[in-house]
Symmetry: C2
Subunit: 207 residues, 2 copies
C-alpha cells in the first residue's frame, strides 16, 4: 500500500521514473489533503462552547469530509491498480489475429476501468468543495484560512482528475462511452473555479 | 519529522485538532507533489533516444525541480517549528508590565519568522510553475498530463501559501514590514493564474 509508506518515500517514488505512483495518485493525495483540512476545521469546532449552536451542522460536515478523505486515499491506491491493468493488457501477445483481437478488447476494457478512478476522484473533489462554504461560515474562525487551503487543494485535484480522465478517453474507441464520460466530466467541472474563488473571498473577509 | 510518517498517519494528524501539522504544512505537501511530478516527467525523458536533443535542458529542469521538492519538504517541517514558536510566545506570562512588553515583542518576532515560511513556499511554488512550460514542451509527451497536474498543484499551493502569509500579517504591527511583505506577495502571485491556464492549454493540446 502506497499510503503506508513515509511521506518522503512516497514523494521519492512519485518523482522517479517508476510506473507508480503517477499523476493520478498525486491528484488523489492533493484531494485527500483538501478533505483532511475540512475535517481539521470541523474537529477544531466540535465540542467548543462558542460554536454550540452549529454542533450538528459541523458534525455532519465532519462525517462527510472523513468519508471523502478515505475515498481519496482508496483512489490513490486504485489508480495504481487500474494503471497496472492497462499495462498488462498492452503487454499481451499479438502474434495471431485472435490474439490481436483479444488484446484490443482487454486494452479497451482496462482503459474504461482506468477512466472510472479519476472520474470518482473528480466526484469526491466536488464533494469536498461543496463542504467548504458552510465550513467557512460555521467553522472555528481561527482556522478559516485552512478552509481556503482545503478548497484550493480540492479544486486543483478536480482539474487534475479531469486531465487524467481525458488522457484515457483519448484512447477509447467506444464513442458513446467517450461522449457520456465527457458530459459527466463537464458537469462536474462546471462552475467549480468560480465556487473556489467565492470560498476564497469568504475566507479572506474573515481573516 | 512529519515527512518520516506514513502518508495515512500524516493525513490522520492533519485532519485532527492537533496543532500540527496545519494548513501551512498541507500547502507545502501539495507544492512538493507538484515538484515531484515535474521531476517525474524529467526522469521519464532523460536517457531516452527520442529526446536526445533536449537532454541538457531536461537535466537542468530535473536538478531545479529536485532542489525545489526538497525545499518544500523542509518548509513542511519549518511551518510546524514556526507555529510552535508563535504558540510559545503567546503562552508567556503577562503579570507585570515588563512581562507584557517582553511577551508582545516575542509574539511579534515569532510572527515575522512565521511569515517567512509561507513566503519562501510561495517563492518555491513560483519556481515550480516556471519549470512547467519547458517541461510540457520538451518532456516525454506520454507524461505531459503530469506536467499539468504538477502546475495545478504548484499554483494551488502558491495561493494557499499566500493565505498563510496574510493571516500572519494581520497580527503584525510593524506597518513597514507588512507593506513590504504584501508587495512581495503580490509580485509572486501576479500573472500566475494565467500562467497555469496557459500550461494547461499547452498540455491539453498534446493529449
Amino acid at each position: 500500500m502506497f499510503v503506508e509508506k513515509p511521506v518522503v518515500t512516497f514523494m521519492d517514488e512519485l518523482a522517479s521514473s517508476a510506473p507508480a505512483p503517477g499523476g493520478g495518485s498525486a491528484a488523489a493525495l492533493v484531494a485527500a489533503t483538501g478533505a483532511a483540512l475540512v475535517s481539521m476545521v470541523a474537529n477544531l469546532t466540535v465540542g467548543k462552547k462558542k460554536y454550540a449552536n452549529v454542533q450538528d451542522d459541523v458534525q455532519r460536515i465532519l462525517t462527510r469530509s472523513e468519508t471523502l478523505r478515505q475515498k481519496c486515499l482508496d483512489l490513490l491506491e486504485g489508480d495504481v491498480a487500474a494503471y497496472t491493468q492497462v499495462s498488462v493488457a498492452y503487454k499481451m501477445r499479438r502474434d495471431t489475429e485472435e490474439q490481436k483481437k483479444a488484446r484490443g478488447m482487454a486494452i479497451q476494457k482496462a482503459l474504461k476501468q482506468a477512466t472510472a478512478v479519476p472520474m470518482e476522484l473528480a466526484e469526491a473533489c466536488v464533494g469536498i468543495l461543496n463542504l467548504c462554504p458552510e465550513s467557512a461560515e460555521k467553522g472555528n474562525v481561527r482556522a478559516v484560512s485552512d478552509v481556503g487551503v482545503g478548497a484550493l487543494a480540492a479544486e486543483a485535484a478536480l482539474r487534475a482528475a479531469a486531465l487524467n480522465v481525458l488522457i484515457n478517453l483519448g484512447s477509447i474507441k467506444d464513442e458513446a462511452f467517450v461522449q457520456n464520460e465527457r458530459a459527466r466530466l463537464d458537469a462536474l467541472l462546471d462552475g467549480k473555479a468560480q465556487l473556489k474563488e467565492q470560498i476564497l473571498k469568504d475566507v479572506e473577509a474573515k481573516l
